[in-house]
C-alpha cells in the first residue's frame, strides 16, 4: 500500500479526520492553532487537492455564506482509504517508537 505522504499532507489529512467542516480556511486556522506556524489558504488548497487526487479525501460542496461573497464551501472528508493510510502511518511510527531504548528517551 502506497502511503507515502509529506509532513504537510499528513498534518492536513489528520485535520480533516477530526474537523467537522474541513475546508480551506478552517484547515488553515486549525493548522495554525496546532502547529503555531501560519500557512496561506492557497497552500492548503493545493494540499487538499493533492490528497483528493490520491483518493485520501473526497469533497462535496457545502453551504454558502455572506462573508464568502455568496460562494459555497468545498468540504473535504476523509475516505476509508485515507483512514487506512493514516492508521498505517501511525502504527508504523509506533512500531519505530517502541524500538527506542528507554534510556535514550529519558535523556532526551
Amino acid at each position: 500500500m502506497n502511503y507515502r505522504l509529506g509532513n504537510l499532507e499528513e498534518t492536513v489529512l489528520l485535520i480533516t479526520m477530526y474537523m467537522e467542516e474541513a475546508y480551506g480556511v478552517s484547515v488553515a486556522e486549525e493548522y495554525k492553532r496546532q502547529t503555531g506556524a501560519g500557512i496561506s489558504v492557497p497552500a492548503i488548497h493545493t494540499v487538499l487537492r493533492r490528497l483528493e487526487d490520491k483518493g485520501l479525501v473526497k469533497s462535496k460542496m457545502g453551504e454558502s455564506s455572506p462573508e464568502r461573497g455568496g460562494r459555497r464551501k468545498r468540504i473535504y472528508v476523509p475516505t476509508a482509504h485515507g483512514f487506512n493510510v493514516i492508521n498505517q502511518i501511525k502504527s508504523d511510527r509506533l512500531h519505530m517508537w517502541s524500538k527506542i531504548p528507554q534510556m535514550k528517551l529519558n535523556k532526551g
Binding site: R49, S64, E67, R71, K73
Partner: protein, 903 residues
C-alpha cells in the same frame, strides 16, 4: 465577522481571480479567500488583509485553477484577427499604405534629426564637471552714448575677483594668440635627422595653468594639474601631436614658436570636442606668466580688455549676488582712471552653459556661437512637420474608413462592442506607427552622414544615446502620436450605424468632411509658412553674398605674412612685392594689417578737436601701404590717398595724416565730406593718448564684416613699404592661370622666407565664410520645408486619390452627359483651390511677423517683398492642381460603361 464587512478586498485582484479561475474552483477559492480576508481584517487590519488577499490571489494561480478561457481566451484569436485584417488592408491598398507609412516615417525622421541637432546644440560646454559653477566674466564699457560689450575683460579682473570674494574659488584666463602674435603663429619642430616641419596654428591660446583644472579637457598624456606649471611648456592636441611627431612620443620634444622661442611638450590632450565654446589646438602659459617678456606691467592690468576670463564659484555662491558686487571691484581698481576718461565699466557673469546659445552680441568672441533663435525655429519646424505627418495619417485613415465601413458593420452584427472596435483601430494605428518609427530609424541611420556633412558637425558627439530620458521621450512621442492619430479614425469607424452601412447607404458625414478640410487647410497653412521662410532665408543669404561690398572681392588672393622672421624681413618684403609685380597675372599687391571678412580687433577712441571727452567713440585701426585702395577698389570719396613717403611717426607732437571712412566721418558729426576734409581729430593709439590726426582723405563705406553687422568706423594709417609687412599680403590677380599664379607666388615666398608655411586663400571665400552659419540654416530650413511639402503632398495625393475613387460613377455619368475632363478638373479642384487661398491668407500675417523678426537680426537685409507671399501659395496650388488633374484624367479617360457596369 460582521465588522469586517464594511471592507472589501481589492477589486482588481478579485476581478483578476474571477477572470482566470475555472468555474470548478471559483467557489472554493474565492469563497475561502474572502473568508480569510474578513478574518484578517479583524485580526491584523484592513491594509494587511488587502495586501494578503492580493498575494493569495496570485498564489492561487496554478494549472488546475487557471481556466482554458484565460489561457486561450477569445481575445487572442480576436487580436490575431485584427492583425490579419490590418495586414490585409495594408496590402490591399499598397500605394495608400506606402504613402501613409512613408509620410509618417519621413516626418518622424525629420523630427529625430532636429531633436538630435537641438540636443547637440544644447550640449555645449556641459561636459565639464563644474559646468554649472563656471562663469565667464564679460566687460561692458560705456562712454557717452556709446557702449561696447566685450566677451573679454581686463587681465586684472580674474585675480582681483579671487582675492576679494571668498565665493570665487578659482579663475582662469585665456588669451588668443592674435593678441600677442597677430594673425597666426608658426610652430616648427626639427627631428633627430634634422628635417624641419612647420605648421601655422591659429587656435593657440596662452592660459593660466588653472585653465586645465577649471575646465576638464581630457588629457591623453600628462597630468592637467601640472603640465603648464613651467612657462616653457606647451600642451598640444592629439591631432597636432600626430602632425608634428607622427608615432613618436611627443613628451619632452621641443617645439619652436615663430623661430624664436623654444617650448617643451609636456602634455597631449584629446582634441577639443565639437561642443565646446572655446576651441584650441595648442596651449601655452608663457605670456601670462612672463607678462610678454616684461612688456606687460601692472599698469596694464585694468586697461586691456582682451582676456577671456572664467571664474569658478563655490557650491553655495549666488551668481546674481556676486554680479551686483562687481561694481565695487571696478570702482576700487579702475574707478579713478575711468572717470578721468569719462568712461564707465560694468562686469557681468555669464554662465558657461549659456555662452553657446544665449550670448548677447559681444565683441572679442573668438568663435561664432549658435543662436537660441535658430534652435527655437527648428523645434517649431519639427513640431509642425510631426503635426503634418499625423494629420496625414488621420486624413488618410478616416477617408479610407468608408471602405472599411462594411467590415465594421459586419463586426457589429457579429456582436462586436464599440470598445472592441476602437481597440482594433487603435491597435492598427499603433502597428502603423511602429512600422513608421522603424522605417524612420532606418532613414536616420542611412542619412545621418549626409546630415552631418550638411552641418559640418558630428551631431552624435553631443548626444548620449544611453540617456534614458531621450528614449522615454521617444517612446512618449510614439505612443502619444499613435494614440492621437488613431483615436479619431477609430471613433469615426466604430460609430457607423449598422443598418445604413449594410444597406450601402453610406457617404461619410458632413462634419467628417468639414474636419478633414480643416486639417488639410491647417497643413496648407504650415506648408505655406515653411516655404515662405525658406524663400526668405535664401533671398537673404544670396543678398548678402551678392551685395556690393564697397570693394571688389573677386580675384583677391591673400597670403599670410611670414611669422618666422629676422632683421632682413622688411627689405625682403620689398623684394617680394617687386618680384610679384613682375608677373603679368598679378596686377596689384598691397600689405595691410587687416583684411575684410572679420572684425578688426585693434581699436581706440576718436573725436573731433572741438569736442569733449564724452564724444569719444571707438574707431577701428587699419594700417596699410599705398596700394590698398587701388588693389581693393575702395572708393575715395574726397581728398587723396597717402603719398609716397608718408608714414605713421611715433611722435606725439606731430600731426598725422589719416584717412577715415564715411561712417567715421558721420560719427564725428560732420555734415559732409567736404566739411570734414583737412579737419583735425584726436585719436588714441597704443598706450599713448591723444594723437592729432589730419583727415587727408575719405573712403566710401565698405563692409569690413558680414552684412549682419553695420559699417564699422575705420581710421587708416599710412605705412612705408620698406618698414612694414603687416599681417596679410593681398594680390589682385587675373582670372587666367590661377594655379600657375599661386605656384609662382608660393615659389617666391618659399625662396624669400624659408621656414614659413605658405598659407593663401581667396578673399571672397574668406568673406563668405562668415555666412556659413546662415547658409547652413538656409539649407536645413530648406531641407525640412521640402520634407514638410513632400509629406503634405503625399497626403494630398492620397486624399485626392481616394476622393476621386469615391466619385468614379459620378465621373462616368458626367462624361456620358457630355462633361469634358478639363471641366471636371475645375469642378473637383475647386474645393482645394479655395482651401489654398484661405490658407495663404491665414499664413500671410504669420509669415510677415516671423520674417520681419528674423530679418531684424541683420543690419543689411532684403526688403519684405511680394515674392515670399505669392510664390509659396502658387507652388502649393500647382502641386494640388496637378495631383487632382492627374487623378481626374486617369479616372475620366476610362470608358464610362466600364465604371458604370460595376454595380
Amino acid at each position: 465577522m460582521t465588522t469586517g464587512k464594511n471592507h472589501t478586498p481589492p477589486k482588481w485582484a478579485d476581478r483578476f481571480l474571477e477572470w482566470y479561475c475555472t468555474a470548478q474552483h471559483i467557489e472554493e477559492v474565492q469563497g475561502d479567500l474572502y473568508e480569510a480576508f474578513f478574518l484578517r481584517c479583524n485580526e491584523s487590519g484592513v491594509a494587511w488583509a488587502r495586501f494578503l488577499f492580493i498575494v493569495d490571489v496570485f498564489r492561487s494561480l496554478s494549472w488546475r485553477t487557471v481556466s482554458q478561457k484565460a489561457v486561450t481566451t477569445n481575445s487572442i484569436p480576436m487580436f490575431r484577427n485584427y492583425f490579419i485584417i490590418g495586414y490585409r488592408n495594408l496590402l490591399r491598398n499598397k500605394v495608400f499604405s506606402l504613402i501613409n507609412i512613408s509620410g509618417l516615417a519621413i516626418g518622424l525622421a525629420a523630427c529625430f534629426f532636429i531633436v538630435l541637432y537641438v540636443r547637440f546644440e544644447m550640449s555645449y560646454d556641459r561636459f565639464h564637471t563644474k559646468s554649472d559653477r563656471i562663469f565667464r566674466v564679460t566687460n561692458y564699457r560705456f562712454q557717452g552714448s556709446n557702449s561696447t560689450k566685450m566677451a573679454t575683460c581686463n587681465p586684472g579682473t580674474g585675480p582681483a575677483m579671487k582675492a576679494e570674494f571668498p565665493e570665487v574659488t578659482d579663475y582662469a584666463r585665456a588669451v588668443h594668440q592674435s593678441l600677442f602674435m597677430g594673425g597666426v603663429a608658426a610652430w616648427s619642430h626639427t627631428d633627430n635627422e634634422g628635417s624641419m616641419k612647420v605648421f601655422n596654428e591659429e587656435l593657440l591660446y596662452d592660459v593660466d595653468p588653472s585653465f586645465l583644472t577649471v575646465f576638464d579637457f581630457p588629457f591623453v598624456l600628462g597630468n592637467p594639474h601640472d603640465v603648464l606649471s613651467d612657462p616653457k611648456s606647451v600642451v598640444v592636441s592629439e591631432t597636432v601631436a600626430k602632425k608634428f611627431f607622427g608615432k613618436d612620443n611627443p613628451l619632452g620634444k621641443t617645439m619652436v614658436l615663430n623661430g624664436r622661442r623654444d617650448f617643451t611638450v609636456t602634455g597631449v590632450f584629446k582634441d577639443v570636442p565639437e561642443n565646446s565654446h572655446i576651441k584650441f589646438n595648442i596651449l601655452t602659459s608663457y605670456f601670462l606668466k612672463n607678462g610678454w617678456d616684461g612688456f606687460w606691467n601692472d599698469d596694464w592690468d585694468w586697461k586691456w580688455s582682451e582676456f577671456e576670463t572664467y571664474v569658478v564659484l563655490d557650491n553655495s555662491a549666488n551668481a546674481i549676488e556676486l554680479e551686483s558686487k562687481l561694481s565695487t571691484l571696478v570702482e576700487k581698481y579702475a574707478g579713478a582712471r575711468l572717470r578721468g576718461m569719462n568712461q564707465r565699466e560694468e562686469l557681468h557673469l555669464q554662465p558657461l552653459t549659456d555662452i553657446h546659445l544665449r550670448s548677447p552680441k559681444l565683441t572679442n568672441e573668438r568663435q561664432t556661437h549658435g543662436s537660441e533663435q535658430t534652435i527655437n525655429f527648428l523645434m517649431i519646424i519639427a513640431a509642425l512637420i510631426l503635426i503634418i505627418a499625423w494629420i496625414n495619417y488621420i486624413n488618410l485613415s478616416t477617408s479610407k474608413s468608408i471602405e472599411r465601413a462594411q467590415e465594421v458593420g459586419l463586426r457589429k452584427v457579429a456582436g462586436a462592442s464599440r470598445r472592441q472596435l476602437v481597440t482594433q483601430f487603435l491597435l492598427e494605428s499603433f502597428a502603423v506607427n511602429f512600422l513608421a518609427i522603424v522605417l524612420s530609424f532606418v532613414i536616420v541611420i542611412v542619412t545621418l552622414p549626409y546630415f552631418n556633412q550638411l552641418l559640418e558637425k558630428d551631431i552624435l558627439e553631443g548626444v548620449q544615446l544611453n540617456d534614458i530620458w531621450f528614449w522615454l521621450a521617444l517612446i512618449g512621442v510614439f505612443v502619444l502620436g499613435s494614440f492621437i492619430a488613431g483615436l479619431y479614425p477609430a471613433f469615426v469607424l466604430s460609430s457607423y450605424r449598422i443598418m445604413n452601412v449594410l444597406k450601402g447607404k453610406f457617404f461619410g458625414t458632413r462634419s467628417g468632411i468639414a474636419l478633414r478640410k480643416t486639417l488639410v487647410g491647417f497643413q496648407f497653412v504650415i506648408t505655406v509658412i515653411l516655404m515662405a521662410g525658406t524663400v526668405v532665408v535664401f533671398q537673404q543669404v544670396s543678398f548678402m553674398r551678392n551685395q556690393d561690398l564697397g570693394y571688389s572681392k573677386e580675384q583677391l588672393l591673400i597670403i599670410q605674412s611670414p611669422k618666422v622672421t629676422d632683421s632682413t624681413i622688411h627689405s625682403k618684403g620689398l623684394v617680394f612685392k617687386t618680384e610679384l609685380l613682375r608677373n603679368t597675372t598679378i596686377h596689384n599687391v598691397t600689405k595691410t594689417n587687416e583684411i575684410p571678412g572679420k572684425a578688426i580687433t585693434q581699436m581706440n577712441f576718436l573725436r573731433r578737436m572741438d569736442q569733449d571727452l564724452e564724444d569719444n567713440f571707438l574707431c577701428n585701426h587699419f594700417f596699410m601701404d599705398l596700394n590698398f585702395i587701388d588693389t581693393y577698389g575702395v572708393k575715395l570719396v574726397a581728398g587723396r590717398n597717402f603719398r609716397q613717403g608718408e608714414e605713421f611717426i611715433w611722435e606725439e607732437s606731430a600731426t598725422h595724416p589719416v584717412i577715415l571712412n564715411e561712417k567715421a566721418i558721420r560719427m564725428l558729426g560732420f555734415q559732409s565730406t567736404t566739411e570734414a576734409i583737412n579737419q583735425r581729430a584726436y585719436f588714441g593709439l597704443g598706450s599713448k593718448q591723444e594723437w592729432i590726426g589730419e583727415i587727408v582723405g575719405i573712403t566710401g563705406d565698405f563692409h569690413q564684416q558680414s552684412l549682419k553687422n553695420d559699417y564699422d568706423p575705420i581710421i587708416f594709417f599710412p605705412a612705408l613699404d620698406s618698414r612694414f609687412f603687416g599681417q596679410y599680403v593681398t594680390l589682385k590677380v587675373s582670372t587666367e592661370y590661377p594655379e600657375e599664379t599661386i605656384s609662382f607666388v608660393e615659389m617666391e615666398y618659399k625662396k624669400l622666407f624659408p621656414g614659413n608655411q605658405f598659407n593663401y586663400f581667396f578673399l571672397d571665400d574668406h568673406f563668405n565664410r562668415q555666412y556659413a552659419a546662415d547658409q547652413q540654416f538656409g539649407k536645413i530650413f530648406g531641407l525640412f520645408s521640402t520634407l514638410a511639402l513632400v509629406i503634405a503632398g503625399l497626403g494630398l495625393f492620397g486624399l485626392s486619390t481616394f476622393m476621386i475613387s469615391q466619385r468614379i460613377k459620378e465621373i462616368a455619368v458626367r462624361k456620358v452627359l457630355g462633361a469634358t475632363i478639363p471641366g471636371m478638373i475645375v469642378l473637383f479642384s475647386k474645393d482645394f483651390v479655395k482651401l489654398v487661398i484661405l490658407a495663404s491668407f491665414i499664413a500671410g500675417p504669420i509669415v510677415y511677423l516671423v520674417v520681419d523678426n528674423w530679418l531684424k537680426s541683420f543690419a543689411f537685409h532684403v526688403p519684405i517683398g511680394w515674392v515670399m507671399f505669392v510664390v509659396p501659395p502658387i507652388v502649393l496650388l500647382v502641386i494640388s492642381l496637378a495631383t487632382i488633374a492627374v487623378q481626374t484624367i486617369k479616372t475620366g479617360s476610362v470608358n464610362p460603361t466600364k465604371s458604370l457596369r460595376l454595380e
